[in-house]
């Protein structure tokens, strides 16, 4: 399995804070890699650094073998990277339709893709002409994900999609992400919900204090309660 994304010795400073302290990671093509860790470990900073939203102070980031750490965010997006931020960042003043029209950078909306998305997120069809700002938190998350997958992407960077959502919505999101996975997408997924992580992850990276402290298969971590407790301060049992 080839690596689609690779980070080597990446450091990121935000102001005087040294957040990422030498990140080395690889995201294999066609797989879902979970990025886990406590609050403040540097997970969101890792995604933002890959996306170019924060500049890496040093280190190398390569996508399909091409170096991208010095590229501007729009150029990285144009290489086929979709980003779903933790804040969802839907455009509240725009309608659901307008949000998706904007995300479909390379042309008009593809009806087949749209129908596929509506299959998972019927609320988006229902609120098609409503302002995104009037959607509920779960619906905004659906829109945020829909925006990232409205066109084929090489790599999806998704930051805590289940955060603050009702259990029923979380289950639906998991099903949606599984389907995206089945279509062959490569995903780097930050998640605090261990149940979701276990359901979705092929591989897992655990971060602490700006470094990767564990890497391996998700199934192995899910089966190893003492390791979960040591790395994350919790166990899967407490999250079921």
């Amino acid at each position: 399995m080839t690596d689609l994304l690779r980070l080597s010795g990446v450091h990121t400073h935000i102001g005087r804070y040294h957040i990422l302290q030498g990140i080395d990671l690889a995201v294999p093509q066609g797989q879902t890699t979970m990025l886990l860790g406590r609050n403040g470990a540097g997970k969101t900073t890792t995604l933002r650094t890959i996306m170019g939203l924060w500049q890496a102070s040093s280190g190398e980031i390569s996508l399909s073998g091409d170096r991208i750490e010095s590229r501007a965010t729009p150029d990285i997006a144009r290489l086929g990277v979709g980003y779903v931020p933790e804040s969802m960042a839907v455009f509240s003043d725009l309608t659901v339709k307008e949000n998706l029209v904007l995300a479909a950078r390379d042309g008009p909306l593809d009806d087949t893709q749209l129908d596929w998305i509506f299959g998972f997120f019927p609320a988006l069809r229902r609120f098609w002409l409503s302002r995104a700002g009037s959607l509920s938190g779960g619906q905004k998350q659906m829109l945020s994900i829909a925006r990232a997958i409205i066109e084929p992407r090489k790599l999806l960077l998704i930051d805590e999609p289940t955060k603050g959502l009702a259990p029923a919505i979380v289950m639906a999101l998991i099903e949606c992400l599984k389907e995206i996975k089945r279509k062959g997408a490569t995903i780097l997924l930050v998640e605090q919900n261990f149940f979701a992580a276990r359901e979705l992850g092929d591989n897992v990276l655990v971060m602490d204090n700006g470094t990767i402290v564990h890497r391996g298969e998700m199934a192995a971590l899910a089966a190893d309660v003492p390791l979960q407790e040591r790395l994350l301060g919790l166990s899967l049992e407490t999250h079921q």
Partner: protein
């Protein structure tokens, strides 16, 4: 996932019409206070004309504020430069301006306005590249740089044209009024209303019916996410800044004709009004800016007639009242 059936009919978007009703309510409330219907109609027409001119000047600034998060205290320079450029074009054609033919007048005025817009827009390009670009994200430095730029621009105009006020008479066909019974509405005010309305409609069409407009509206709200979708927003910034500068230039020409004079510091008083309009409209909101401009002009005209002693503070009071009602302006677009 949701209790809503996918086959249900799509809902229509909800409109927030309360701000739209404000100027209507204000106009209606003043009818009994003013007493004379003809005076009221004259003041209302004056308000709409003044409001449209302020809107033209403020519309660019609100987009610059909203999209670029740039505090441009030098916006007034584009207004003054636009007006001065028009004097350059109109001076050699004074005879055509005084000919009693609307078409002949417009044949001179239109190129003058277009050239003013072009020069102001080009000046906007220089200002954005030289003054704004190095200080993106640094508000205090933006204020210092743009205020400095305004001072330099004003002093340059003084150096080139001198300190005297330059007369800029209305063309012959736009002098006088349309008389409707007891009501007299100045011809130029009607033209100002039409141009302001045309600019508003054009901006609304671009913002709401084109992908470029979607990008601007999205960028006003969340620049970072627009970039994460693959759009190079810096180019958009520059385009919006130049368009805003060009509109300020057009507004400068219209205001100079309205006051029939040009001077280097003509934008000083206007800048205060423009900032009030941008703030009460909601940063980045063209609709809010439009309503805000009409409200400011109404308060200035009705207030000046009813309570002249309050004229100087009436717009500040209006701003306070609106911000107490809606702290982020009539239509909050950005989270700032």
């Amino acid at each position: 996932m949701t209790d809503l059936a996918a086959t249900d009919p799509l809902p229509k978007p909800k409109r927030d019409i309360a701000p739209i009703l404000l100027p209507v309510a204000l106009a209606l409330v003043t009818i009994p206070l003013i007493g004379s219907p003809s005076t009221w109609l004259t003041l209302t027409a004056a308000s709409l004309a003044m409001g449209m001119m302020i809107f033209i000047m403020a519309s660019g600034l609100t987009l610059v504020f909203g999209l670029m998060d740039v505090l441009n205290f030098g916006h007034g320079a584009f207004i003054a430069v636009g007006a001065y450029v028009a004097t350059l074009v109109l001076a050699p054609f004074a005879a055509s301006m005084q000919a009693d033919s609307l078409w002949m007048n417009l044949a001179v005025l239109a190129p003058a306005a277009l050239l003013s817009m072009a020069v102001s827009g080009a000046l906007g390009l220089v200002v954005e590249r030289v003054l704004i670009l190095p200080v993106y994200g640094q508000h205090l430095k933006q204020i210092l740089m743009t205020t400095g730029g305004l001072i330099v621009a004003e002093q340059t105009l003084y150096a080139l044209w001198g300190p005297q006020i330059i007369p800029m008479p209305l063309p012959a066909s736009l002098r006088g009024s349309f008389i409707l019974g007891d009501v007299a509405i100045a011809k130029y005010r009607v033209l100002a209303m039409l141009i302001g309305l045309a600019v508003f409609i054009a901006i609304q069409l671009v913002l709401n019916r084109t992908k470029l407009g979607l990008l601007i509206r999205a960028g006003v709200e969340n620049r970072e996410m627009v970039e994460a979708l693959g759009y190079r927003i810096r180019r958009l910034f520059l385009g919006v800044f130049m368009t805003g500068s060009a509109l300020a230039g057009l507004g400068g020409v219209m205001w100079a004709l309205y006051r029939e004079q040009v001077h280097a510091s003509m934008s000083d008083d206007l800048t205060v009004l423009i900032f009030i309009v941008v703030i009460i409209g909601g940063l980045g909101s063209i609709g809010g800016c439009f309503i805000g401009a009409i409200l400011v002009a109404m308060v200035a005209n009705y207030g000046g007639f009813l309570v002249p002693k309050l004229a100087l503070v009436s717009n500040i009071l209006l701003m306070v009242a609106i911000l107490m009602w809606r702290p982020r302006g009539l239509y909050a677009v950005t989270s700032r």
